[in-house]
Amino acid sequence: MKGNDTDNAANPTGRRLRPRFVTVLALVLLAGFWGQPVFSAESKTYEALRLLTEAFYEISQKYVWPRGEEEMLRGALRGMLNSLDPDSSFLTPEEYRDYQKGEGGPEAEAGLELVVKEHLLAVVAVLDGGPAAKAGIRPGDLLLKINGQMVRNLTTQEVSRRFRGAAGTVVKVQVMRNGLIKPLDLAVSLAPLARPKITAQAVKEAFIYVRIPYFTDDTPAELATVLKDLKRRQPQLKGLILDLRNNARGSMEQGVRTASVLLGDKEIVSTRGRKGGGQVSYRGKPRDLVLDYSLPMVVLVDQGTARAAEIVVAALRHYKLASLLGAKTFGLCGITKAFPLKDGSALVMTVAHCYTPEGQRITGVGLEPQEAGKKPPPGAGPPPVPPPMAEEDPWVQQAVELLKGGKTLTMDYPKG
């Protein structure tokens, strides 16, 4: 009989699911019951674990191909983490070692932000001009296969790692896109990312369009420079359009420091853990403030707006510094923490959610724009990456109309 192609590939010890495992699990559970807690087994926990034991036993007896015990256990861990939220992940010992090496950054990458959500691997954002964008991957795409293998039961962190590596490595993906009848086969060649540049462009004489493709440590200073230049060169400026669409990369700190450039000494975001515990509030710094004059602003957002970008957007909205135009943001802004396990693997778990200054949760909820962006004509396909020239971008035009009509929310600042 033909074996399953994935059979035991990840099971170096070749161990099979044995009755011994079931027995041992039962004993551990009983032990928990008898007051030698391996973990505190309330009766409901005990019952739930018995269910897992039953499931494992059935698989060991009836599944058509014999299965490796270790792979099943890891599958169970992955499944458990995936059932929490898109940011919670499992890391194998190798992946965890890699993770600990930290932010040295990979040599090369695909330039895309992915999450596993409701068992689907979705592209949240594609970095402007990066390898994934060049390969034709678009925000909102669902990845069905990576290098010919069906994407099943992987967690966000793990799958993101498949898109990092040595420059020139080719990763083949099959993507499903809304409106397409057949999936697309695309190939991404990993490459070092060029430093993202904030671009500024005049629109209709009195307006300026500024795009932040994604956040890095340099973003706050760069934005400050752009705004200072504008103030000096275009004193007659009537409005600013800040494009944060398809922007899902950036840390909380980068988001807070960037918001600080626009808001100064104000509460920007706060985080809260279990039962509201461990509340931390992040404020901007007075000396970071550059936008110290009144300037009507529209921020463009969409489903690809996440993480640092959402922090900026939420704060701008709260202080009525800008109107939001476009589509609801993704809602990805949790604080995660890694917890190593005894066997060297690790869990990456969300330990706190982000809240807007008015106390609305961002994680898993997203931010609604005040003004819905015009829907593209049917069959138009996904928006291009990077976005089109400002003059040809329907949402930029819509923003201009909004600014011209004076309908944006503004807040007066003392002239500085």
């Binding site: 391996v38 059935e58 066997d343």
Partner: protein
């Protein structure tokens, strides 16, 4: 992704990609001897299932595993198994540190789902609600009022009342907008929720507030629920003594319904110029039904056999003769890449036994049998427990059935999205103009055939005359 919602009858047919059947499983339990467990075997990662069996799911949780009692007492086992320790540690870390409080059951459901996720794509975990839904679908009947519904421009809309049902008798019509169900607004309702609210116990009443073009104000329809059969078989005569039968899937009522139409065709088609059995986009269903459907056309010979992990537990199914379709020839079976599992069993048997010519495009290629294994809390696992083989010994797994005559679906016009194509088909269906919307004895016209280019070619083939295939050679 939000593709246009497909219409649903009051059963959820949306996730029904495949299916299958009942087999009996014998299991030896340690030294305690044998005991019988009836299981439900399903083909494919799909969704339909059969009647509930007398399973005692609580027979073998850990505490009662006979192996445990016969094994050497393994008291030192606790804490020794590193994998197990890892799992326990993970569970307690999540219970302590995750940002929200999670119930142990939710976490374990996630874990089982993950463990089953390491198996083949056709194995899956079903929570109690999904398991109940599966049972309704494979029974081929449910208690409700008999309408197909969809969301059209975000308004809950009747696609069609099913003939002979309470909804049909009450005068509901295609295109009716359902504004309220039992007085509750349907604004922002999902199809699944709507289905749940409209269904209910037999004999109970549901009140729908209907908006219809021509009504000066919305009107209320109070309708008493009954048992509604789900029709998986549709048929039409085609001009020139040809019969057409389409099987949408394989559930409990499939073979009885098929027999009904075969009997009618035997009377109407003389001389018979041919019969088309359309299995395109039929995701499968109950194995037992696949065997019976094939048996309607075969007089003798092997239909299919399965092999599980234990080779001694292989099963073989043979034709018994006396089928209603044995005299209807030539037989042309239509398949495409959407024909899976049970469909492939039928196509494979009829092909190998040289009873039919197969036309269309290569089938899906799903050669495994799934068994539904209920777990003690009302959830269940769908596990791949066997592979099946056509009479000639071919596995269908990843290979599919290759048609004798290739008939390709035309490429959709450029720029036409899947959504658009579905919408158009739905529009036709709402107007009662789909090929199978008209009475079976009203012959299909050239205009009808225009809707389905592959069927049109199949009819042309039969009109030109196919070689009649006789009984299978005695040796097979």
């Amino acid at each position: 992704m939000t593709p246009a919602p497909r219409p649903q009858s009051e059963t959820i047919t949306q996730q029904t990609d495949e299916t299958v059947v009942t087999t009996m499983f014998r299991r030896t339990q340690g030294t305690l001897g044998m005991f019988l467990v009836m299981g439900l075997a399903l083909f494919c990662a799909g969704a339909l299932l059969l009647s509930l069996l007398s399973v005692c799911p609580a027979q073998h949780p850990a505490g009662q595993d006979p192996r445990q009692s016969t094994a050497t007492p393994n008291t030192s086992g606790r804490g020794e198994d590193p994998l197990l320790q890892t799992f326990s540690q993970a569970l307690s870390l999540i219970e302590q540190h995750y940002v929200e409080r999670k119930t142990a059951k939710d976490l374990i459901y996630g874990a089982i789902q993950g463990a089953v996720g390491t198996l083949d794509p056709h194995s899956s975990f079903l929570n109690p609600e999904e398991f109940r839904e599966l049972q309704i679908e494979t029974k081929g009947k449910f208690s409700g009022i008999g309408i197909e519904i969809t969301l059209k421009d975000q308004v809950l809309t009747v696609v069609s009342p099913i003939e002979g049902t309470p909804a049909f008798r009450a005068g509901l019509r295609a295109g009716d907008q359902i504004l309220k169900i039992n007085g509750t607004s349907t604004k922002n309702i999902t199809l699944t929720e709507a289905v749940k609210k409209i269904r209910g116990p037999k004999g109970s009443k549901v009140t729908l507030t209907i908006n219809r073009q021509g009504f000066s104000a919305p009107q209320e329809f109070a309708i008493v629920r009954e048992i509604i059969p789900i029709r998986s078989v549709k048929a039409r005569l085609v001009e020139g003594n040809i019969g057409y039968i389409r099987l949408a899937n394989f559930q409990d009522q499939t073979d009885p319904d098929l027999r009904f139409y075969l009997r009618k065709f035997k009377q109407k088609l003389s001389p018979c110029k041919g019969l088309i059995l359309d299995l395109r986009n039929n995701p499968g269903g109950l194995l037992e039904q696949a065997v019976q459907v094939a048996d309607e056309f075969l007089n003798t010979g092997l239909i299919v056999y399965t092999r599980g992990r234990d080779p001694h537990r292989s099963m073989r199914w043979y034709a018994r003769g006396g089928g209603e379709g044995e005299d209807l020839a030539p037989l042309l079976v239509l398949i495409n890449e959407g024909s899976a599992s049970a469909s492939e069993i039928v196509a494979g048997a009829l092909k190998d036994q040289k009873r039919a010519l197969i036309a269309g495009s290569k089938s899906f290629g799903k050669g495994s049998v799934q068994t539904i294994i209920p777990l003690e809390d009302g959830s269940a696992m769908r596990l791949t427990t066997a592979l099946y083989y056509t009479p000639s010994g071919q596995t269908i797994h990843e290979k599919g059935i290759v048609p004798d005559i290739e008939l390709k679906e035309p490429e959709p016009p450029k720029g036409k999205t899947l959504e658009k194509i579905r919408e158009e088909a739905l529009e036709r269906h709402m107007k009662g103009e789909g090929i199978t919307d008209k009475p079976w004895d009203q012959p299909m016209t050239a205009a009808d055939l225009q809707q389905d280019p592959v069927l049109k070619k199949a009819v042309e083939l039969l009109r030109k005359g196919l070689p009649k295939r006789g009984a299978p050679p005695a040796s097979s």
